[in-house]
Amino acid sequence: MRHAFAAAGIVAVLGGLVGYFLVLRGQAFAGHALGHVGFTGAAGAVLIGISPFVGLLAVSLAAGIGMGFLGERIAGRDVAIGMVLALALGFGLLFLNFYTAFASEAVALLFGDVLAVDARTVWVLLGLGLASLAALGLISRPLLFASIEPEVAEAKGVPVRLYSVLFLGIVGLATAGCAEIVGVLLVFTLMIGPAATAQRMTNRFGPGLLLAAVLALGEAWLGITLAFYTNWPSSFWITGLSAAGYLVAVNLGSRQARASAVEA
């Protein structure tokens, strides 16, 4: 149980912070797709006899960097990303077919199994989280600038494309981390849900970023607690809390907009 809380805490903070930039840049769907591609990596890794987490991590990192290089040609294209996502899951299924003993692990990989996290995994996630956050912290200022003002950033000598590639690489790492907690299919719930909610609640950058991390952490820990008392899967509770948080924020937001429209 302690391991579950520690692992979920690390991953939630990472997912919330990375997700904030992902939502801001309009690349939420791209982030979602990386998880699916990662699943293929995990299944392929089992097939060739290495740890599924290594496969997941390597393939989602590579896919993130690749997506960054393709840039505008793919990162904002729903259809292209959807095709890649479906194809990746198709290959994942094929690999499962070759190695049926992996089936029960596959379900955990798809939907997450945070209660099964052991001490070693917590350390691995801590290392992954710290490395990713350090990298994000290092590039966050030019990344924000290049995201919201690409023309001015280019004129000021900022390598806009390079930051896009580095960022999607970090997203790949965060995706692999999130997949350990909620599974590859539900990465969206930890990475995008809290960040989107935070951006609905405040239009200020700093507080929004902090709120995304706090919401992700709260949803993850509360989800595990509820799972403990109900014996329902923690991933279910986390998705429920994430969606509920977003719904509340959307409703509050539109009510506020109506109120200010009336004032004006």
Binding site: G26, G137, P142, F145, A146, E149, G157
Partner: protein, 273 residues
């Protein structure tokens, strides 16, 4: 020292030559309006000053130095904003993002940074706008914030690329007056590109007219004349001055407002915010 110096400069994009053998000098503390028909090279000229385009021939000096990609003494307001990223953020963050935006690190400002952003916002009178998300602002209000953003980093040269596009005449006059007052307050040089000369009359120290790979720099009286513009447009041009407004005519058509209409119809993208 001059703000911008061109010595026998030839600029081209791909196969096309845009400017050929142009020499000119724009002084510090000078407000220069840049005009010319579509495709005459107004944006190309600004890109060369920014160091984004190397001249094929000749030399350019910007504030005494060769143009460098990433010259922080230049404030730049691009013509169009191609991205809709960040529209949910408030104006303050949009203006602040440019501060030290080229340096690695985290985008938190510190007391000095906050003072600089506040000062830039105050200079353009956008303190109130900075509290609202960009998505809620009008074109003129976004333009005001973009000007504040261009002032971050204490530039000595401002490049404003078509800031009047998509503004109605009332807001055009306000935008020109604002740019002029900022230029005077800070004592900096401004290059302001536009389609129509009339909104800028009275605000400019000199005009720079581009056309057919050539350039003419001088006062309005020197440059905006039939003979000079006929040479730049490559056709017979008559300049008519009427009640403080100038009409550049060819065969009875007002060329500048025609060009403006034409251009407005082709600008589908989001206006620079």
């Amino acid at each position: 020292m001059n703000a911008v110096e061109f010595a026998d400069v030839t600029l081209g994009i791909g196969q096309r030559t845009v400017l050929e053998g142009v020499s000119l000098a724009i002084r510090e503390c000078e407000f220069v309006g840049v005009f010319g028909p579509n495709g005459a090279g107004k944006t190309t000229l600004l890109r060369a000053v920014l160091g984004l385009l190397r001249p094929r021939r000749g030399s350019i000096r910007v504030l005494g130095k060769p143009p460098a990609h990433g010259n922080h003494a230049i404030g730049y307001l691009p013509q169009t904003r191609t991205t809709s990223v960040g529209l949910s953020l408030r104006g303050w963050d949009f203006v602040a993002s440019v501060r030290r935006g080229h340096c690695l690190g985290m985008p938190f400002l510190g007391a000095e940074g906050r003072r600089e952003v506040a000062a830039a916002l105050e200079m353009v009178g956008a303190e109130e706008l900075a509290r609202r998300p960009l998505a809620e602002l009008s074109g003129g209000e976004c333009q005001r914030l973009a000007l504040a953003q261009a002032l971050i980093g204490r530039p000595r040269l401002l490049l404003l690329d078509e800031p009047l596009i998509s503004l109605d005449p009332h807001h055009q006059a306000a935008a020109v007056a604002l740019a002029r007052s900022v230029q005077k307050d800070l004592g900096i040089a401004v290059l302001f590109t536009a389609h129509e000369i009339n909104p800028l009359l009275g605000a400019m120290d000199r005009v720079l007219y581009l056309g057919r790979c050539r350039a003419a720099l001088g006062t309005v009286e020197e440059v905006v004349t039939g003979p000079v513009l006929s040479r730049l447009y490559g056709m017979e041009i008559t300049v008519v001055s009427l009640r403080g407004r100038i009409f550049v005519m060819s065969d009875g058509h007002d060329l500048e407002s025609d060009a403006h209409r034409h251009d407005a119809a082709h600008h589908h993208g989001p206006v620079h915010a």
